[in-house]
Amino acid sequence: MLDFVIKRLAQVVIVVFLALTVVFFLIRLSGDPVALFLPPDTSREQIEEYREVLGFNRPLYEQYGEFMGNAVKGDFGTSLKTNEDALTMVLERLPATVQLAIASLIIALVVAIPVGVLAAYKKNSVFDKFAVGVTIVGQAMPSFWLGLLLIYFFAVQMNWLPSGGSGSPIHLLLPSLTLATYSIARFTRFTRSTMLDVLRMDYIRTAKASGATTFSLVSKYALKNSLIPIITLVALDLGTLLGGAVVVEMIFAWPGIGRLLMQSLLNRDFPIVMAGVFIIAFIYAMINFIADIVYAYVNPQIRVK
């Protein structure tokens, strides 16, 4: 088991390292940040002087070496715009993003599992067709559009909910619903199909024959087994929700990591982008790492492989 854990941890390190490396070179393709920060009347010599102070005039490999050397120590430098520690700035935004991700996940699970189960159980019924239809729409609807529709209806027309910002659970409702829509659709379809597989199993027929009620049949025998693959999906989606809430955070003025990264990219505030990429890659890799460990713990076959 220890071997397995060490191997997987090494993979986490490699994933984070590769993510940082790729992004480091990619964002440098977007150009030099110095010109964006200085006032327009800055002379060329002065721009050069700033580039030298900030180290942007050195060869790329040197900059990369220094960056990695410091990153290992947890130092991602200071924001070019605010002179504050980049990692701290990103970590300050983390709670808001986690909050949004978890709220979305809860909404997604609470809606998707009952609907998926019911749709499978009543296969080909009106409800089933309706549920499948709605999930297709949910999966196809871009979040920026859905978000704006929700704002328009609930905030502008009805005046029931705030249109954006953060602070109270009420503020959380619209953004998490918007973010959850895609996951709801995915989870519902997945629950439905795994449930259908399970319902075809012999042991279900046996349970049915031995007189189990519909409710206990589904909840006690079928759901348990059909949930295992869903847990993988949840783990994967949690990673995506944590890193991919950029659009929702922008529309709802949610002060999370996605929005900070987006703005920092446009401002070419490289240290913040790198610190943000580090946090997201790390969380994503760790969630998968934990999922792997839990699996291995539950199912020894995986360890052996």
């Binding site: 150009g31 010109a35 909050q99 809860i106 609470v110 002060p255």
Partner: protein
């Protein structure tokens, strides 16, 4: 099943835990029936820092000017200098300026404002350690001397007639003992100034809350609290305004003006900004644009009135020369006007068939009002006289970098401002080192340098007059317009937009 339930409960608990962390003070959700002594302003971006004299950035400046005062400000309508913390100023000789300061002005921490604070604030910008992006503009300063509590003397390395402009645009006064005590980072998070509003709370990317400073030297503000709320997306900002959650926001796109006006309790306030938009004609490469006749032809071929009417719905003020009317030393120059025949004739005179001329036109996307549509409109207009134009749309950072690195093609759309004083416009646009207009002429440059260093007011005015006429004669660019600053404002809020774009809550009140 039980495990799932436990998992859900755990997640809800985690969520509540997170909520606590970020919800010490939520944005106010009750849009109606609130007591009317607070104003909530929607803003597209957070301040970079709340430290004065550091971040060259409109979003930062507009917010912190409620906390800090400048020495010299501007008249809200004309843009002329007015004393704020300064009482008066005068140049002693070409290298020396003396500024008399107001007495009896208090900082938010009860310390008194004095000449020491002025020296400290300028020295702060000049100190490399502080990484101020203003430093490059102030490098001409040799020394700031405290003559008495209410008088400072600034000496410069070279003659610096533009110093007063720099003081007006850049300099805000910080409290020295506070900054020294808590350090730059802390002072940048919890600022102290002499302004009408005291810092209360700042939640990054979320909001900035300020409360009235009742000991303010101009009297206690009528609005007792202000909040800047950051809403990056325009559609969301508009929705938030229409639902009544914010009272005011700047930069309504021209195509959304009617939508705002349709709101129950909404009005549009508009003022001609000192920010100008223009079409630069690049003369740095061999090609038709080096020929003054071709540039003049383009000036005749671009129909500015048509663009203003059909693309900007009339929200903009036409310009004919290099400076807007808000500039000191502005003079009226010749208007080329729209004239297709003249354009064609001039091209012929220059020895070109219009169809032989193929030009590129670069535009940023979303930086200026309807910039991409304007570029396409200009391309269509030039095509009418036969010039082929290839429009290229750039992300703003790329656009600016291309200009700064002189990698720009033939023509590009750019804005300039806020500009109240001609020096920075002519020096930074029409000299060899300056990349922003793409125009350079040796004689014009010599005239520019001579004029900006002239200390005598009349002589300088004469110089600028001549320059403006020459630049128009040379068709150095195609002047377009002053942008319109469009604000969405609640009907019962007294708010008058200022030409300098400051959003000063001190001058606001509820009806």
């Amino acid at each position: 099943m039980k495990k799932l339930a436990v998992l859900l409960v755990l997640m809800v608990m985690a969520l509540v835990g997170c909520t606590k962390g970020t919800s010490e003070s939520g944005g106010d959700t009750a849009p109606q029936g609130e007591s009317k002594d607070k104003v909530i302003i929607g803003f597209e971006a957070d301040a970079g820092t709340l430290m004065a004299n550091t971040d060259v950035n409109y979003a930062t400046d507009a917010q912190i000017r409620n906390i800090y005062d400048p020495l010299i400000g501007r008249d809200a309508d004309t843009g002329e200098y007015i004393p704020v913390l300064a009482e008066s100023w005068a140049s002693v000789d070409e290298h020396t300026w003396r500024i008399k300061l107001k007495d009896n002005v208090k900082f938010h921490n009860d310390k008194m404002f004095n000449a020491e604070a002025v020296k400290f604030s300028i020295d702060y910008m000049l100190d490399e350690k502080n990484n101020s992006f203003y430093r490059s503009r102030w490098e001409n300063i040799k020394e700031v001397k405290v003559l008495s509590d209410t008088e400072v003397e600034i000496t410069t390395k070279e003659p610096f007639p533009g110093l007063i402009e720099r003081i007006t645009v850049d300099l805000l006064i910080m409290e020295p003992s506070y900054v020294k005590e808590v350090g730059n980072e802390e002072a940048g998070k919890k600022p102290i100034g002499t302004g009408a509003y005291k810092f209360e709370e700042w939640s990054r990317d979320n909001y900035l809350k300020l409360v009235a400073f009742d000991d303010y030297w101009q009297g206690a503000p009528k609005i007792k609290a202000i909040e800047f709320r950051y809403i990056p997306e325009f559609s969301s900002r508009l929705s938030t305004f229409l639902s009544g959650e914010i009272d005011l926001f700047k930069n309504v796109p021209v195509d959304s003006v009617e939508k705002v006006k349709a709101g129950d309790n909404a009005k549009i306030e508009e003022v001609a900004s000192s920010r100008i938009n223009y079409l630069a004609l690049n003369t740095f490469y061999d090609g038709p644009l080096q020929d003054v006749k071709v540039r003049q032809a383009i000036n005749y071929a671009v129909n500015v009135d048509e663009l203003l009417e059909s693309v900007l719905n009339g929200h903009g003020t036409k310009m004919t020369g290099p400076l807007s009317q808000l500039n000191m030393n502005y003079t009226e120059t010749k208007d080329y006007g729209y004239n297709e025949e003249k354009a064609v004739a001039l091209l012929k005179e220059a020895g070109y068939k219009p169809e032989d001329i193929i030009l590129t036109l670069d535009t940023p996307s979303g930086r200026y009002p309807m910039d991409v549509q304007i570029a396409q409109g200009i391309a269509a207009q030039l095509q009418r006289v036969g010039i082929k134009v290839d429009v290229k749309v750039n992300e703003w950072g790329t656009h600016l970098e291309k200009i700064r690195n002189r990698e720009m093609g033939d023509m590009y759309i750019l804005g300039w401002g806020p500009a109240f004083e001609p020096q920075s416009t002519v020096v930074d646009l029409f000299t060899k080192e300056a990349p922003y207009s793409g125009f350079y002429d040796e004689a014009v440059q010599a005239k520019i340098f001579k004029t900006v260093e002239t200390f005598d007011d009349d002589e300088r005015r004469e110089g600028y007059n001549e320059l403006q006429h020459t630049l128009v004669e040379q068709a150095s660019w195609v002047p377009l317009w002053q942008q319109a600053d469009l604000y969405a404002v609640k009907k019962d809020l007294n708010f008058k937009p200022r030409v300098d774009e400051e959003i000063s809550a001190f001058y606001m009140s509820w009806k």
